[in-house]
Symmetry: C2
Subunit: 236 residues, 2 copies
């Protein structure tokens, strides 16, 4: 159990190509870490794992413990070993994250961030689950719901990936949030920190599992990379 | 020790950005597999590992057991568990490899190939090691040596990576060769199979270590992805 390894199942390219079968159960994902983020089969909502507990944000915005059938086409997890980095006050979330990467000179490696405290604003989204034939990421985006909170206390988990990994995963920051009262959660679009602690964990290894037994994945033509990059830009 | 995991140190992007410090010793690399390929610090030649034994092709074309100081900026290795796939006769190497991927419907996953037998032709190259400041991949290519063989018996180890991993590694096939008499070896440019057996090993996981303690790597600006793709196209 390495604490310098980030585990990932699937690729961002799969989502961009509507390959949305859940290929890893929540049970199996939890074997790879006590912190993590992901989405459900058919883009069924958003997932966040904090201290070994998983929370599934539905498209309604409500969060619940995922049922045992929950499975994910794309998720990340790791064994938490966060180091205190400092505090942030009255700052845009993106700036807090980028500033931390810059100060750590960690722009070329994978890292995780845990930001805990009060947020002046927090905007999240959750996707609506679909059945086969799965929609495109663009079509799915039209059915997602966006939620706004202000003066909300909670925890944000963000993963950072270097630029060259775009498509393999989400390059830059990919953040999910859960408020302490569980009333606001999901994939983070924007936010502003009021007062929070910032913790960080750097990785030297990425371990990525591909769904090599999934028939749709095996058969797919995944050679159009420009499509992937456009879809990610539009969706993230 | 998973036989479905491909291990890799570094990225192809590092070579394209002249980040050529050796960051993993040959000793450590051999802990990750008994088959593998790579290059040495400063692009010092080509490496192939077969049945647990490493061979270092010098720019002269000679191959030798790497000395204990040999280290690599970019290498792949895995624990061999090859399955017989079939035989190939009188066929271009690229066609043999692509045909195998197609028949296995393995185009979206990592795989290794071991082709053993007689080759009608085999063209390899080896790079010349450089000291800091390291040259660009283009400058290094001008100093590489190309070797030709015909009716040569030997073993070829090739790794296949899906298209989305270009830059993270070498997308498509990346092959190194060692003749049975050790007189011809190196990074494979082209070849034609006369008569050979084809073995294959499919992976569902890639485990990639980045040189996160290397000062040049930490400081580098690795956000210009178009440069990477051009450099790889020119070099491979």
């Amino acid at each position: 159990m390495s604490k310098t390894t980030l585990f990932q199942v699937g690729t961002m390219q799969l989502l961009a190509n509507s390959l949305l079968d859940g290929t890893m159960s929540i049970h199996d994902l939890l074997q790879h870490g006590d912190f993590g983020i992901g989405t459900g089969q058919g883009l069924d909502g958003e997932l966040i794992i904090l201290d070994g507990k998983a929370y599934h944000t539905l498209v309604s915005g409500e969060s619940e413990v995922p049922d045992e059938n929950f499975s994910s086409p794309f998720a990340a997890a790791h064994h938490g070993d966060f180091k205190d980095f400092g505090t942030a006050e009255n700052a845009d979330l993106e700036a807090v994250l980028q500033d931390t990467i810059d100060k750590l000179q960690a722009q070329n490696q994978f890292a995780a961030f845990l930001i805990e405290g009060e947020f002046e604003t927090m905007t999240t989204r959750s996707a609506a689950g679909s059945q086969k034939p799965y929609p495109s990421l663009t079509e799915a985006a039209e059915k997602q719901q966006v939620f706004h909170g202000s003066k909300v206390k909670g925890r944000l988990l963000s993963y950072y990936a270097p630029a060259i990994y775009q498509g393999v995963t989400v390059a830059g920051f990919h953040s999910h949030f859960l408020s302490d009262d569980h009333d606001l959660s999901g994939h983070v679009l924007t936010g502003k920190v009021l007062s929070a602690t910032v913790k960080v964990q750097k990785f030297d290894t990425i371990e990525q599992v591909l769904p090599t037994e999934n028939p749709d994945f095996k058969a797919a033509d995944l050679t159009d990379l420009s499509m992937v990059h456009k879809a990610i830009e539009a969706a993230e």
